[in-house]
Symmetry: C2
Subunit: 443 residues, 2 copies
């Protein structure tokens, strides 16, 4: 008799697991439940939808339920799994648009319930015009509200806050970005934050760092943001102060979380319960620099989680060894890329860490229209082991970070970096690639 895989949450990890499991073992019956209106969407594209660069939110969808059906995978939207009866190997599903519930049996279960935005318990946070951004529905609501807004406030200067700041400027809005920490992008080192701050100001974003948001005020609809630095008028507010994994359903039937608060999994994405996997933003990964559990809720990681879990569920071999914390974000004309540990994080993690920060260019000194390229390299003194890097450059110049990410996977050193034979031609790099310049300065 064929086995049945049930997937809870049908976005990146869930639908990757579903599709991969079915492809690898066509005997499997695969059913995925997703409570939003969309499966398999690229949530990381929402800021660009807000910018107006993507016409319809539907464009973010990689594959529709109809396409999944053709592959033999049943994907049901507006279906929320509200209870898991682990002993009985069944889940209770609410068909949200039909007002009915049913029990769905399973042999294998993937928990891919994702994450949700943190909503700080501030006065007035429930006012109309105060948003978080996570699902396509959020995007549609914000873009609609944006049409009538002039003054916007973004609370939180992390990746999402920065991307939305650009999006709102692209729509011609006034934008104030508020960050509690003394600098934007506080996960990066200070040199990087400074360049980001510069880029924001250069593009007309008002930036308030070291500023606490205390309340939102208005008559039914937000009109003012009350902060430690005074009041700001606001027609629209985006809260982007972090996200948390949606672990509650999983823990309710005995799945355990790790030190990060996300679900603990092994290299096959197995949870502590037999026949239950967790994948995507709800699950941890191992950080290959520290060796510790780490939560990296990004779409590319979710896809890899899902693919690995799906392969294993289909009875084949696969392993997800871990992450090195790579990320990149576009802030107007600059890209900020990150991998491994920042200098501050490396020291906090107990490494005898040192950093070098260099400014170079993205092409030979004589080639026209150069752009600055900044590299921060973090390494262990003595051993020279690489611990991380940050690159700030013009658009995809910053993808050079991937060389360092690759070395981090291999446990590479500054010496390994110094001797790399990277591709060189005048339009693409100075004769000494900026990464090599940084390595040559690391002592």
């Amino acid at each position: 008799m064929s086995k049945r895989l049930v997937v809870i949450g049908g976005v990146a990890a869930g639908m990757s697991a579903a599709a991969k499991a079915k492809r690898s073992n066509p005997e499997l019956e695969v059913v995925a439940f997703e409570k939003s209106h969309y499966v398999s969407y690229g949530a990381c594209g929402l800021p660009y939808y807000l910018a107006g660069w993507i016409e319809n939110v539907e464009k973010l969808v990689a594959r529709t339920p109809e396409k999944f059906a053709k592959q033999g995978v049943t994907a049901l939207v507006r279906h929320e799994v509200v209870e898991v009866d682990y002993e009985g190997r069944r889940v209770r599903v609410a068909a949200l648009d039909e007002g009915r519930e049913f029990w769905q049996p399973f042999d294998y279960l993937v928990v891919s319930t994702g994450a949700r935005p943190v909503v700080p318990p501030l006065e007035g946070v429930e006012l109309k015009g105060v948003f978080t951004l996570r699902q396509p529905e959020d995007g549609v609501a914000i873009r609609e509200a944006l049409a009538g807004a002039r003054r916007t406030v973004i609370v939180g200067g992390g990746y999402v806050g920065l991307e939305v700041a650009e999006a709102f400027r692209a729509q011609g809005k006034e934008v104030t970005l508020i960050e509690l920490e003394p600098r934007v992008l506080p996960g990066a080192d200070a040199e990087v934050s400074e360049l980001v701050h510069e880029e924001l100001m250069h593009n007309g974003v008002e930036v308030l760092t070291g500023t606490r948001v205390e309340a939102f005020a208005g008559d039914g609809r937000v009109e003012r943001v009350v902060t430690s630095a005074g009041e700001l008028p606001a027609d629209l507010v985006l809260l982007s102060v972090g996200i948390r994994p949606n672990v509650e359903l999983a823990t309710s039937f005995g799945v355990t979380t790790g030190p990060t608060g996300a679900i603990a999994v092994d290299e096959q994405l197995r949870t502590n319960l037999e026949n239950v996997w967790a994948a995507g933003d709800v699950a941890e990964s191992r950080h290959l620099v520290t060796g510790q559990p780490y939560w990296l809720p990004l779409g590319d990681v979710a896809n890899k989680h899902g693919r690995t879990a799906g392969t294993v569920i289909a009875g084949k071999k696969a392993a997800f060894k871990g992450v090195v914390g790579s990320a990149i974000t576009k802030v107007f004309e600059r890209a900020i890329a990150f991998t491994g540990l920042s200098e501050a994080d490396a020291q906090a993690a107990g490494f005898d860490a040192k950093g070098v920060w260099i400014k170079s260019a993205d092409r030979a000194h004589y080639y026209p229209n150069p752009h600055p390229l900044h590299v921060k390299l973090v390494y262990e003194t003595g051993s020279g082991r690489l611990l991380g890097a940050q690159v700030v450059g013009h658009f995809n110049d910053a993808l050079r970070i991937d060389v360092i990410a690759t070395l981090l996977h291999q446990g590479g050193t500054v010496d390994d970096l110094r001797t790399l034979d990277l591709a060189y031609a005048p339009p693409f790099s100075p004769v000494w690639d900026p990464l090599l310049v940084a390595a040559n300065q690391a002592r």
Copy 2:
């Protein structure tokens, strides 16, 4: 008493060695002789000078003799070393503009005499209007001749030929590119050549492959190119059919060459003769994929050679382990990047090699203005060891090659590539980076 380093040839490798030796050991006396009018120039920038994108050829110079003098390095242009008396530890120097010669004693010698273009012994090859491109002086002469030319012919479809084809088109000239082999860029695999061919035609370059040039004809000045496919009118011809290392001076006093024809050196760039180093285009490197000597006459390699030799001569530790054959070139809006071995070369080298060729994009499917990105991955069957890659993309999208170059240095496998945590955001990559897509397809 202080020791004296004499450097023969003051371009990339020579001046890197000179400057690094002096910086690392200020006691050293350092003298460099260069027979052209310029030291420390970026020869790889000449095609862009021809395109008119760089105003003066002087812009290609990284550091002038005056700047070197301030660092305590004597750099003499228009000075040719015509003889080496190794037993007597002295070189005979011709001061070309002064019509005199002198003997210069040395303790340490760096041979960095570079390479020269191959000039095929064809009838009419000495006609005016038939050029090769290697030194700034060549560039100046070609650009001058170009002003009065309408129809240009480029013989040879390697990197330089392709770059000059673009340059001549940028100057509004008619361009015919002739390649003896059945396809352009014959060092790459066929899929890559096809895209390059397409890009050339798309930009108005006439391409004749499988065509032999038999003679040049004209009355004092070239007027026609005689080929196996008939005669072509031509006002200007560029020969770019390869280069050869300038080893003659070195071999004349007992320095030995390796199997590539360039000078054999160890990891400290030492030749077989005590106190004699060779660096740059005149010297071999080790290919870290095959383990064999390899000749990679590129500016970035030359700089690394020179830096290593200079450090060692100064009495410090340094090693140049080798290359993996990385290169990149711009052909109009496409960039072609290369590392390791092509599938054909890998098979010729005795590997049980396989290749995958994928087409992806440089950004998420929903992000506007995507460009195609093609990846060829070459690997060993069974072990999955990576042997090489080729990437064709839009401008610096192709720098992704550096990830593969890094893995080649580390002896990485397809599995290592598959599990890399590369930086992802929708403007910079699909959620599955094209390199990972290729790895996932490699079996």
